[in-house]
């Protein structure tokens, strides 16, 4: 079976000749959650943004349901079934909750009348807040809206950049439960996370990105062994130690 998202040998960066992601490969199957972990500055966000079409790709291939998408414009990717939730500023603050979702539906040619109630059912908190400006939502509600917005066009793949950042443990639990639900409906979920424990708890597999390359791609439970990740995150630490 071909994966919903298949990245191989990806090189990407902000300025020409300055690759931040340097030959990373990763696959996510439909219905699967894969956690992308790694130390600060490893290039996780850059990887996610490159796949979403926000950062220039220098070489390598990105396939969405078997179709090559490297170099495709971000707005076309969004309409073609790739949902992306940025880490910060991931809602349109001056628009209301409903307007955020209606806008996403309209540009993707999805019937809002049908789709919005489904999303409100998934995120009941949003249903209550639908007339409120997104800028005035709480952190948890805002994250829900960001997810819902990305889900509007029924994407095959959902990429989230640190959705747990800034949320209380209880809200993280709530959000990740939603992710499990979303994956169960057949969406391939790529979860970029710092919160390793929470991410591996819901992920099937974990991949570790260090200095722009994926060093390990293993079943989540193999990574949950104490000490394993530390060694993977900082491969030079032992060599540097006296």
């Amino acid at each position: 079976m071909s994966a919903a998202l298949e990245v191989s040998g990806l090189e990407a960066g902000y300025e020409p000749g300055l690759a931040i992601v340097r030959g990373a490969s990763l696959g996510v199957a439909a219905g699967e959650i894969v956690a992308l972990l790694g130390p600060n500055g490893a290039g996780k966000s850059t990887f996610a943004k490159a796949v979403a079409g926000l950062v220039p790709i220098f070489s390598g291939s990105v396939r969405l349901a078997g179709k090559e998408i490297a170099g495709t414009k971000a707005h076309l990717l969004a309409r073609a079934g790739l949902g992306f939730v940025p880490q910060t500023e991931n809602v349109f603050a001056p628009l209301t909750v409903a307007e955020n979702l209606e806008l996403a539906a309209a540009v993707a040619h999805v019937k809002a009348k049908q789709r919005l109630p489904e999303l409100y059912a998934l995120f009941p908190d949003l249903a209550k807040a639908r007339r409120i400006d997104a800028g005035r939502l709480s952190g948890g509600q805002r994250q829900m809206l960001a997810m819902a917005r990305a889900l509007v066009p029924n994407p095959r793949v959902l990429i989230l950049d640190e959705p747990s950042a800034g949320l209380s443990p209880k809200l993280v639990e709530h959000a990740f439960a939603k992710l499990t639900e979303i994956a169960a409906s057949g969406v391939a979920v790529l979860l970029v996370e710092q919160n390793v424990k929470a991410a591996l708890a819901i992920a099937a597999r974990g991949a570790v990105l260090v200095e722009g390359r994926v060093h390990v791609d293993a079943p989540a439970r193999d990574l949950q062994v104490p000490g394993v990740l530390e060694r993977l995150f900082f491969p030079h630490a032992e060599a540097a130690a006296p």
Partner: protein
């Protein structure tokens, strides 16, 4: 007296408001202060003059038969539309030649420099084409009507043309507000203004939204220019003279806020007309600068900033 000052301020202010709306929209979407916006106003006014001549010739030449109490006939309305379309094309060409290429290179401030250069080039090219003498759409004389008799607040008089300008400005502003609030295209514009990257991953074609913003801004500028020419006269500096009031209005209202630009425009217009009895007609243009400095010192984010985080 006081009523008349307010009325004059509102009429000038409605022109400033129309111009400021376009300015604030391009400012918040493209993220640079476009000094060439004033030249869209001037070009819009003069292009309308050219089309007016064309439509009058089309209708058999001679004088334009006035519509009802107004000083102009249908030809001016047609010229207004044609001039606005031509100005929109001018803005798109300028974007394609200059701003789009420069914004691909990065820095917003370089765009501002370029717009300053483009403004001078456009203004002088206009002068080259049309000359420097004042021009008029119509020589028809207008008699001001008494709206409020003299014994109430000093009385209030306005010409039908002035009332037309005020009414059409109001219609445009309300229409634009509804467009931005209710339609997908309008919401997409607000979304891009707020966060272009998020707009792209939401599926919005940012390049197309930018083009539509240029079109809208240029149309409103052309209408503002035609209005200014209708209630006053056409001069090549018509856009340059409006630039400072436009910036003052846009910043006063909060960059990106259309209602803010309207209210800012009216306030600047009122300040200008109140300045006449206070500091003299020759310093009228300094009123906008006073408003600008006051807002920069007291509330630089403007009265109604939309960029709430």
């Amino acid at each position: 007296m006081i009523l008349q000052i307010i009325a004059d301020g509102l009429i000038v202010g409605s022109t400033i408001a129309l111009g400021a709306i376009g300015l604030t929209m391009t400012y918040s979407l493209l993220r640079f202060a476009n000094f060439a916006h004033g030249e869209f106003i001037a070009w819009g006014a003069y292009l309308a003059l050219t089309f007016l001549g064309f439509f009058i010739a089309l209708g058999g030449g001679g004088a334009m038969a006035p519509l009802g109490p107004f000083s102009f006939g249908w030809q001016l309305l047609a010229a207004l539309v044609a001039g606005a379309i031509a100005t929109a094309i001018l803005a798109l060409v300028l974007d394609w030649l200059l701003f789009d290429r420069l914004s691909a290179q990065g820095s917003a401030i370089v765009l501002t420099i370029a717009s300053f250069g483009a403004a001078l080039a456009l203004r002088n090219f206009l002068q080259f084409v049309y000359g420097t003498l004042p021009a008029y759409y119509t020589r028809e004389l207008q008699i001001a009507i008494h709206i409020v008799p003299r014994d109430v607040g000093g009385g209030l008089r306005a010409t039908p043309d002035q009332l037309f300008v005020l009414a059409l400005a109001l219609v445009l502003v309300v229409g634009l507000h509804l467009f931005l609030q209710r339609t997908t295209a309008g919401r997409a514009m607000r979304a891009v203004a707020h966060n272009p990257a998020l707009a792209r991953v939401t599926g919005i074609d940012v390049a197309s939204v930018v083009r539509w913003t240029w079109i809208l801004g240029a149309i409103l500028a052309a209408v503002a220019g035609t209005f200014a020419g209708l209630v006053g006269q056409l001069r090549p500096q018509i856009g340059f003279d409006l630039l400072l009031p436009l910036f003052a209005a846009a910043i006063l209202g909060g960059i990106g806020s259309v209602p803010g630009a309207v209210i800012g425009g009216l306030i600047v217009g009122l300040a200008e007309s109140a300045a006449v009895p206070l500091i003299g007609a020759e310093y009228r243009a300094a009123a906008a600068f006073g408003v600008l400095i006051a807002i920069l010192l007291v509330r630089p984010q403007g009265l109604f900033a939309e960029r709430a985080k």
